[in-house]
């Protein structure tokens, strides 16, 4: 049992380190290291331009889309080498946010279902960051129950006409293309009437509006479709097979192993060490120490769970749904820590101005953002279902809509 690289891994790490040392945009490091929670603020630098420049540089040198096959712009490296890249890229990885969905979800779906000419046309430009992709799945009425979506696609000549609304689409406003799941048949069971497409996000009839989130930021969009035309050639998979295609996409969502989720523990420890209570430093308060110990156990447990998964990758295994515990643990914990941290600050815990609030208001930012962490990419409850059903082998839930044609499924308002 050790944390050492094997010979090949060590050689790969040395290569990565040396390239990063010569090429990484060091001027941005001060911003990236103190990046506030879930936003990319590069001061006077243009965040998207810098992100694209870094992406292009990596692509040209052979460090982009590491998992992809070489013919589509990737490097076909092993999963463990991807983890090593991620560890070494460190803070610079924050510049990759624009491309995560394209690389991790849209690209693999296109690769699995588009024709050869399309793959050659789209994938290398996605890999290089010249073209950005988004994923149009969630709808206002279908989140956890994604297959309940209602955006309609109807055949019209050789094309399809799209009408409906998507929501929580990251980056729709700066994306060039997107993958879109639609309902093509409401007379069959809900999973059977779906069809997947990709489309140009500049197509006429698309209306993109940023969502103002509960924490005041705007990282996501609503996308409205009003008679948007998509050529049939841009269909991914057969008509009615969209659910199967979507599973390909979602399967690729989980590969964030090796990356560590923020938990708020270091911030809390820093606060507890500096803050004075009537009885002395907060860190000496018995009630707080009990909680700190619990949080440390969870954060440390996550860290070494990640090490166990990395070992499995190193051995050539593919980790399964076990990997979903990361967000399930980190999400509620950061919320709990943020609340406790504001409590410790007493009245001044309410301040959000980084110039005045303790620890540059990072804990306040965590408080306001953490509800989203517990929902996005699978709610806490859906993740518990996944663990119970796919890890522990418990039976699936009994579904009230089983076997019903989609049009007959009861809905709320």
């Amino acid at each position: 049992m050790n944390f050492d690289d094997n010979v090949d891994e060590a050689a790969f790490r040395a290569k990565v380190r040396s390239w990063l040392d010569d090429n990484a945009p060091k001027k941005l490091l001060p911003y990236l290291e103190k990046a506030s929670f879930a936003t990319l603020d590069l001061g006077d630098y243009d965040a998207n331009a810098e992100a694209k420049a870094w992406r292009k540089k990596k692509f040209d040198a052979g460090w982009a889309c590491l998992a992809w096959p070489k013919e589509y712009g990737g490097q076909a490296v092993s999963p463990i080498e991807r983890v090593i890249w991620g560890q070494e890229e460190g803070a610079y990885a924050a510049l990759g946010g624009l491309f995560t969905i394209g690389e991790g979800m849209c690209g693999p779906t296109v690769m699995a279902y588009a024709d050869e000419a399309q793959k050659t046309r789209y994938l290398p430009k996605l890999a290089s960051g010249e073209e950005i992709w988004c994923q149009l799945f969630s709808e206002p009425g279908s989140g956890s129950d994604l297959a309940g979506l209602r955006t309609k696609a109807e055949p019209d000549g050789g094309d399809w006409l799209i009408n409906g609304q998507k929501i929580w689409t990251s980056g729709a406003h700066y994306s060039d293309f997107g993958i879109l799941i639609t309902r093509t048949d409401a007379n069959v069971a809900k999973h059977q009437g779906l069809t997947m497409f990709f489309l140009d996000m500049k197509s006429p009839g698309i209306d993109i509006r940023p969502i103002k989130q509960a924490n005041g930021q705007s990282g996501f969009n609503e996308v409205y479709f009003n008679d948007v035309r998509i050529p049939d050639a841009q269909r991914l998979g057969a008509v009615g097979e969209g659910w199967k295609v979507a599973l390909t996409t979602l399967m690729n969502e989980r590969m964030s192993i090796g990356g560590s989720m923020p938990t708020g523990v270091p911030e809390m420890l820093e606060l507890a060490s500096t803050l004075q209570l009537e009885t002395g430093p907060a860190i000496e308060d018995r009630a707080l120490r009990e909680k700190l110990a619990d949080w440390h156990c969870r954060a440390n447990g996550l860290k070494y769970t990640s090490a166990r998964l990395t070992s499995a990758l190193s051995r050539g295994d593919t980790p399964g749904p076990e990997a979903s515990i990361g967000k399930l643990v980190a999400g509620p914990m950061m919320q709990e820590i943020a609340m406790a941290a504001l409590d410790l600050q007493d009245l001044s815990g309410m301040m959000v101005d980084p110039a005045e609030a303790a620890l540059s208001a990072r804990l306040q930012a965590i408080l306001l953002r953490s509800p989203a962490t517990r929902v996005e990419g699978g709610t806490d409850e859906i993740l518990r279902n996944i663990i119970a059903e796919r890890v522990l082998g418990l039976p699936g839930d009994i579904r009230a809509d089983k076997g019903l044609a989609f049009k007959d499924i009861p809905t709320g308002r």
Binding site: M1, N2, F3, D4, D5, N6, E9, I80, L269, S273, I283, R286, R289, E290, L292, A293, D294, H296, C297, R298, N300, G301, L302, K303, Y304, T305, A307, R308, T310, S311, A312, S314, R315, E322, I325, L328, V329, E381, L383, R384, N385, I387, A388, E389, V391, L392, G393, L394, P395, G396, D397, I398
Partner: protein
């Protein structure tokens, strides 16, 4: 990266599991729980025949010469099977204390018998209700003779030797005492888990040999407890896994309202949370095992972390195993209470969760400052 147990270690684990599957069903556990015998002698003999007590003892002293990682996988299986044997007292406490603090000649004298299992050892530290602290230790050694009383000594009824924390002219020290002496008397203690033996030991002018130069007993004790904490944490996650498995199986077999109870989200989510706690504890335990086996500087923090985490996971899995079983879980007949008892016993054996949480935070602060 290779943050996992080796093939040989996994083979050892499977071998121990097979032996315990054959010879340590809940019937054997219940025989000790309900009977007069302090442990299962037949099972203990079998484990000794396999050389398991000497797993992490140098061959020079009659051990197998394997390491702590091997001992960890053995501990996990013993915990899983609720093995009613004096393994943890003799191996995690007595053997480790001697390895930690005894002189060369003392090791040569005591370790071979403990490694073979021919003799049993244990640790005696607590004297009063409440957390162990320097002021709560009144036992004294004068002129090489020990006098006083220690409570809740693990396997105190059967131990042949005991490591004792006592005061002397140097301050506090660890002593080794042979219990076959007329000045020793023992009283069995009634505890929440009678499948493991605990006894009060009284000493009147009993000869005692000091470990090391003396005066550092408190520090040695804490180092010993750190080692034992890692090993016990493996025992705890073994038990937690068994309790989770029981609950998962029952949720699939038991029907209510015309369906398997495991199809209700209330049950599913409870079991998922047990799984998550156990996985975190397992990862913390692996970290503790790594720190123990490499003598890493972060062992004190790693030990406290896996101790707290594994204690919580076992208590969580054991109590919700009963909850999953409903009324049947509260019968004497069902095995749920065996894990409920053991989880709450192991939570206290090396000092309780509150004490370990406090140690954890002190060590976290120290490590962060370094």
């Amino acid at each position: 990266m290779n943050f996992e147990f080796s093939e040989d270690q996994v083979l050892l684990k499977e071998m121990v599991r097979k032996v315990l599957d054959d010879q340590c069903s809940s019937r054997e556990v219940r025989t000790v729980l309900e009977g007069e015998s302090p442990h299962d002698s037949a099972l203990w003999s079998q484990l000794c025949a396999l050389g398991l007590p000497g797993t992490a003892v140098d061959p020079a002293y009659g051990g197998a010469g394997a390491g702590y990682l091997e001992l960890c996988v053995v501990a996990e299986e013993l915990g899983r099977a609720l093995a009613p044997v004096p393994f943890s007292s003799s191996v995690f406490l007595a053997v480790e204390a001697i390895k930690l603090a005894a002189s060369e000649s003392q090791r040569a004298e005591w370790l071979p018998d403990l490694a073979s299992g021919a003799k049993l050892g244990t640790l005696a530290a607590w004297e009063q209700v409440g957390p162990l602290r320097p002021a709560s230790v009144t036992m004294r050694v004068d002129g090489g003779l020990l006098t006083g009383q220690k409570m809740l000594v693990a396997d105190g009824d059967t131990a042949d030797q005991v490591i004792v924390l006592a005061n002397d002219e140097m301050g506090s020290s660890l002593y080794h005492v042979q219990l076959a002496h007329k000045g020793v008397s023992r009283t069995t203690a009634a505890t929440i888990d009678p499948s493991r033996n605990f006894a009060t030991l009284r000493f009147t002018s009993v000869p005692a040999q000091r470990l090391g130069s003396g005066g550092n007993g408190w520090q040695l004790l804490n180092e010993l407890l750190d080692r034992a904490a890692v090993l016990t944490a493996f025992e705890q996650i073994g038990g937690a896994q068994a309790a989770l498995d029981m609950a998962t199986n029952y949720a699939q077999e038991r029907f209510a309202f015309g369906r398997q109870i495991g199809s209700f989200q209330a049950i599913k989510h409870m079991l998922a949370d047990m799984y998550v706690d156990l996985e975190l504890a397992r990862s913390n335990c692996y970290y503790g095992a790594w720190a123990l086996s490499t003598g890493a500087a972060e062992l004190p923090l790693a030990a406290a972390t896996c101790r707290v985490s594994a204690t919580q996971a076992y208590q969580h899995c054991a109590k919700n195993n009963i909850q999953t079983h409903g009324g049947m879980g509260f019968t004497w007949e069902f095995d749920c209470h065996l894990h409920y008892r053991r989880s709450n016993l192991l939570a206290l054996t090396l000092g309780g969760p509150a004490v370990w949480k406090d140690k954890l935070v002190s060590r976290l602060v120290t490590n962060n400052a370094a």
